[in-house]
């Protein structure tokens, strides 16, 4: 798809050889191809969010642990985009777009806000490392931290403080497995997608990519 003839039209700053020309000194960060790729991932994961949100709101009544099991679906899109494109903002844009798809659920417009928060949370770990580290461990650490922060938010909402110890332990465990599992699934899908070559010319190749080899750790 991404032949050299097409790259000047789509992304003036993204090809390695174009970086030498003065026009590409300031690469446009939000190329249309990048935005639409985020849009495609966001659409695919956002469509999944509709049944997930419906089930979650139905289960809210009887089984908060089931809701905890489903929260991983919120993270998958952002993880795929970030691991695949390795660019600042990929998780935020993808998550917000997938949140827009979830508006016609009981979550309404709060779905967009939730997903924006998820996107920012996913970006934070990579922003702190100045978008230089793309190793899988950072994805796992990020999602574990997100799970911990989310836990402090939903624990009072579900009155979990007054629940029995067994219920508390099950809830916490399910939440962590769901979120870290989402990171694993997102990384796996990103790796397989990178292998298909659809993001050639879009994702940077100079960095040791989380998408190409799991064993690579240091640059």
């Amino acid at each position: 798809m991404s032949t050299p003839e097409t790259t000047p039209t789509t992304a003036p700053g993204t090809t390695p050889d174009a970086a030498a020309t003065p026009a590409a000194r300031r690469p446009r960060p939000l190329t249309t191809r990048y935005l639409m790729t985020c849009g495609a991932i966001g659409a695919a994961t956002g469509v999944l969010l509709i049944p997930v949100n419906l089930v979650a709101f139905g289960a809210l009544a009887a089984a908060p642990t089931l809701v905890a099991a489903l929260v991983g679906f919120w993270l998958v899109g952002g993880v795929i985009a970030l691991a695949l494109l390795q660019r600042p903002g990929a998780a935020l844009i993808t998550s917000v777009i997938s949140g827009i798809f979830a508006i016609p659920t009981p979550a309404g417009l709060t779905a967009v806000l939730t997903m924006a928060m998820v996107g920012v949370a996913l970006e934070l770990g990579f922003a702190v490392t100045l978008y230089r580290v793309w190793s899988p461990w950072l994805f796992y650490v990020s999602t574990a931290v997100i799970a911990a922060v989310y836990l402090t938010m939903v624990f009072p909402a579900y009155e979990m403080g007054s629940a029995s110890t067994l219920a508390q332990v099950m809830f916490v465990l399910t939440l962590f497995v769901s979120m870290v599992g989402a990171a694993w699934l997102g990384l796996l899908l990103a790796r397989r997608l990178a292998a298909t070559g659809v993001t050639r010319g879009l994702a940077p190749v100079r960095r040791p990519a989380a998408t190409t080899a799991t064993t690579t750790t240091a640059p």
């Binding site: 827009i100 508006i103 009155e159």
Partner: protein, 252 residues
């Protein structure tokens, strides 16, 4: 079919209920929560005018949902944490105490109020409306907004593409077999081809958008203006004032 909430700017419907949600989240008062739940339910039925089916589901579903939460959370509650341990119902060894039921009822009403408040926008707003409003009023770059709008058109395409991938897999005998495990493996096999075809399509769409000079100018004209009117401000302020008005009214 057209309740007055449908004409309200999506941003008012987004930021209006937010402080109310915070108030619902923070309050422990059973009567205040009940008032919020009932008030939002009435607002939804009057303001959104959903079809009779949705209305019926709301009117019947809210009490049922609250009751289910009250009982299930009441059962989960640690008996040591509640003061009133008189038994209301007993399911074999598990006993539903009066204190547990009270905790469950507060949780149920809180969840019901939160869901209903979220549905104020969920039932009356579409994705494109929200995107246009945030491009026009929240300074979201229009290129991002229109990428979101364009990706909404991807969904029907995903459906067709899924059929193609399914047929291709069947022809090649990928992950055959019966039962839920084989079914799950088959479904998992669709993820990568579906995403890959979506990303390929995204590249083609972006080329065709740019060949039509998308993103060439810093601003753009709008086909569908989403204005901020006086009534949007009224709705916003009405929601915000409800945070104080409802508890004040309940407590007399």
């Amino acid at each position: 079919m057209t309740g007055f909430l449908r004409g309200v700017n999506p941003l008012a419907k987004m930021f209006g209920p937010l402080p109310v949600m915070a108030a619902v989240f923070l309050t422990e008062d059973l009567r205040v929560l009940a008032a919020f739940t009932l008030g939002t339910l009435v607002l939804l039925l009057v303001g959104a005018l959903p079809g009779w089916r949705t209305s019926l589901a709301l009117v019947l579903g809210v009490p049922v949902g609250v009751a289910v939460v009250a009982v299930s959370f009441g059962l989960w509650v640690d008996p040591a944490a509640v003061a009133d341990t008189r038994t209301v119902l007993a399911f074999g060894p598990v006993e539903l105490t009066r204190g547990g039921l009270a905790v469950g009822l507060v949780t149920g009403l809180r969840l019901a109020a939160l869901v209903l408040l979220a549905m104020v926008s969920g039932l009356t707003t579409t994705g494109p409306e929200f995107v246009r409003a945030s491009v026009q009023h929240l300074r979201v770059p229009y290129r991002v907004g229109y990428a979101a709008l364009a990706s909404m058109r991807f969904v029907p395409r995903f459906g067709r593409e899924l059929e193609v991938i399914r047929s291709a897999h069947r022809v090649r005998g990928v992950a055959g077999g019966r039962g839920p495990v084989a079914g799950a493996r088959r479904a998992g096999g669709y993820a990568v081809p579906l995403l890959a075809s979506g990303i390929r399509h995204a590249e083609r769409v972006s080329l065709s958008m740019e060949s039509r000079a998308f993103g060439a100018a810093p601003t753009r004209t709008e086909r569908h203006p989403v204005p901020l009117r006086v009534r949007d401000g009224v709705v916003l302020l009405a929601f915000w004032s409800a945070c104080w008005a409802v508890p004040a009214l309940v407590h007399g």
